[in-house]
């Protein structure tokens, strides 16, 4: 698998929360040869299964891997003349939007521009303001007569494809959050192809994470896993961000500690990383992690859960940047961890204390 090519294909695909058809089709194609079966649930989650051998008593346990395939974007809310009024889907950042090129997914895909008034006509004060959603218009070049036949209220809008390979093994794109993590799952499943492992694997490309972890919550109920790893992006070190709250780029996946994460899952991943000499880092999240892990942990009777954070710069912008080596390390770490699982491992260490 060519990691960079996969990153490009996934990141350039268009799929805001609730409308993940395009990235799902890619994930289906990529995972199909690596798994035993797959299904799509009511919220559009792609749930793939690979059987393990089961333990000595024939008991099967399931490890769920979850990375979300939706991206932030916009939705058409109405018209104003030939222009479109829009509102965010997920945490789109209006500071980054003015002047951006977009794709409006109407009766067909239309290229468009987020309108900006010329600086010449703006007061110095206005130029310092972040626009309100009521002031953002999208222009696809249509007149008032044409627009309603081409674009309907509720149509989605994404940023234009923007993948670029940077030097030093870095790559930037519009939807690395969290498609780069979907790539880590593909790499993990690739590593596990033809290899024996005790645990079954439910590798899930989740939907609607950006609007509230919705895909993860229902897919975790559906899968009913015995343990789970969520993979999502973390704040990579960058200019303007406190180094105390960011993680190192090219420093390997970041393992989280806190109430959202089961201590034995955390320790198990650390042990495997050390044994396999895979670079990792750690960070503490004192409460809600805001990731699929937060939703999965409380599915049904509770799920021991871990979070792997992929270092990423410029989150929620069109130039989200990752180190390709981190993507590969994350895939390798998960594969090695799954191979290391024997029986119940120490998941119920708390019960035996």
């Amino acid at each position: 698998m060519d990691t960079a090519a996969l990153l490009q294909e996934f990141s350039d695909a268009h799929g805001v929360s609730g409308y993940e058809d395009a990235p799902r089709a890619i994930a289906q194609r990529v995972l199909e040869p690596l798994v035993d079966s797959m299904r799509v649930d009511a919220l559009g989650n792609l749930i793939t299964f690979k059987k393990g051998t089961g333990d000595a008593n024939g008991k099967h346990r399931t490890m769920m891997l979850a990375a979300h395939m939706d991206e932030i974007g916009m939705m058409v809310t109405g018209y104003s003349g030939g222009f479109l009024r829009v509102f965010r889907v997920g945490g789109s950042d209006p500071r980054t939007l003015v002047g951006q090129e977009v794709v409006v997914h109407g009766v067909r895909d239309f290229p468009g521009v987020i309108a900006s008034r010329p600086p010449h006509v703006l007061s110095a004060e206005d130029r310092k303001k972040t626009p309100d959603w009521n002031d953002l218009y999208i222009d696809i070049g249509a007149t008032a007569d044409e627009i309603e036949g081409l674009v309907t209220i509720g149509d989605t809008i994404t940023l234009r494809s923007s993948f670029v390979k940077l030097s030093g093994g870095y790559a930037a794109g519009k939807a690395m959050d969290d498609r780069a993590s979907v790539v880590t799952i593909a790499l993990c499943m690739q590593e596990l192809a033809g290899v024996t492992h005790e645990w079954d694997i439910a590798a899930v490309a989740t939907t609607q994470e950006e609007v509230g972890l919705r895909g993860a919550i229902v897919s975790a109920f559906g899968v009913a896993p015995d343990a789970a790893i969520a993979i999502d992006v973390g704040f990579g070190a960058q200019v303007g961000v406190d180094p105390n709250i960011s993680i190192k780029m090219d420093g390997g996946p970041c393992l989280s500690i806190g109430p959202n994460f089961h201590p034995t899952m955390y320790q198990g991943l650390i042990d495997v990383a050390q044994k396999r000499e895979i670079k990792i880092q750690s960070e503490v999240i004192p409460g809600a992690s805001g990731t699929d892990a937060w939703g999965i942990q409380i599915a049904r009777e509770g799920v021991p859960t871990a979070l792997l954070g992929l270092p990423l710069r410029y989150m929620h912008s069109s130039v989200e940047t990752v180190a390709i080596a981190d993507v590969e390390r994350t895939g390798r770490l998960m594969a090695a961890f799954i191979q290391s699982l024997k029986g119940d491992i120490e998941l119920d260490a708390q019960a035996k204390e």
Binding site: S17, G18, Y19, D41, A42, L43, N45, M75, V76, T77, G78, Y79, S80, R85, F87, V89, W133, N134, T152, I153, G154, Q208, V211, R214, I217, V218, S219, F221, G222
Partner: protein
């Protein structure tokens, strides 16, 4: 249908106290089916059995309304309150609070003469029952009040409290009563506690375990003077929800609704709401997920005692719902 609407919106039913509304609905629903049950939280679940081969559909409209709950009674018999659901203070000033047994009280603020133009905080609001001591206060801690009804029939349009969401209860009931044969098993659910977080729909959806969820609820109307831009207006038909902050409608369900409206030549609008949430969210998130959508009745002045709806929208909502449910469903 107007009579039914009047009776429903006039009834008392703040979240958690939906019994009076439930009794009215049950007495009407029995004309269509005897398969009716009330679950542990108070949701009324009415099954209209299908002829077979169809889907298991849950339709939800909530019975509860916003209100006030008594949290403290001072020595002079004035009651302090907390809001039940999303009550905005300016819109309750000057209305009456009405309790389950019909007891009414005025809703007032401290220092009304000097601070009357400022928005009060909940700490500054109190109820006056016309008594002089705590002993004479006719209500107790934990008792809930709804806003008193100011029902008016303006002809084409109706005004009242609790159009949110009794108008949808009326739409559901009317569809149930008019419903002919259908292949689908339709669970008409009248939910509780929506205004405090779609709680009734959450547990009833778990129980019903539907293949498809449809919430009926009110939405706003963007056609009043200098309103924020909002594409839905009164009188142009039921709104088919695309998204609000609680849920994104299943694209297949949304398109099925649009196609249905087009085939029946019913007016409809599309709705993207920047905030809010409906029972559709609760149903969608139930168990392993349920394809869900929402039909909204455009309503002006939502969460006041003068909520306004348009009868054409109401009747077209009934037609749309009935038409959609009476045929085999594919999305």
């Amino acid at each position: 249908m107007k009579e039914m609407i009047k009776e429903l919106v006039s009834a008392y039913g703040p979240s958690g106290n939906e019994g009076q509304v439930r009794a009215i609905i049950e007495s009407l629903a029995v004309k269509a089916t005897d398969d009716i049950r009330t679950d542990s939280m108070g949701n009324l679940i009415v099954l209209k059995k299908g002829t077979g081969g169809g889907k298991r559909v849950m339709v939800a409209a909530h019975m509860d309304e916003i209100g006030l709950v008594v949290s403290y009674i001072d020595k002079n018999g004035f009651a302090r309150v907390n809001p039940v659901g999303g009550v905005r203070i300016p819109s309750i000033m000057g209305t009456l609070a009405r309790f389950a047994d019909g007891t009414v009280a005025t809703i007032n603020r401290e220092k009304a003469m000097t601070k009357g133009n400022e928005v009060a905080t909940w700490d500054e609001i109190f109820l006056d029952f016309g008594v002089d001591s705590a002993e004479d206060c006719p209500v107790g801690i934990g008792d809930m009040a709804c806003l008193d009804c100011a029902y008016a029939d303006l002809g084409k349009r109706l005004v009242g409290k609790a159009m949110d969401d009794r108008i949808s209860c009326a739409v559901e009931l009317q569809a149930l009563l008019e419903m002919g044969e259908s292949p689908n098993d339709i669970y008409f659910v009248f939910t509780v506690q929506e205004e405090v977080g779609t709680r009734g729909a959450m547990v009833s959806a778990f129980g019903v375990e539907p293949d498809l969820g449809i919430a009926i609820d009110v939405t706003l109307s963007g056609d009043t003077p200098e309103d924020d831009p909002f594409a839905v207006v009164l009188g142009k038909g039921p709104a088919i929800k695309v998204m609000d902050s609680g849920s994104i409608a299943h694209p297949g369900v949304k398109n099925w609704m649009i196609k249905g409206a087009q085939e029946m030549e019913l007016p409809y609008q599309l709705e993207v709401l920047k905030f809010g949430g409906t029972d559709a969210r609760a149903i969608q998130m139930s168990r392993g997920g349920v394809p869900s959508g929402c039909i909204s009745v455009p309503t002006r002045y939502v969460h006041t005692s003068v909520e306004m709806v348009d009868m054409d929208d109401v009747e077209n909502s009934v037609k749309l719902l009935k038409g959609l449910l009476s045929k085999p469903i594919a999305f």
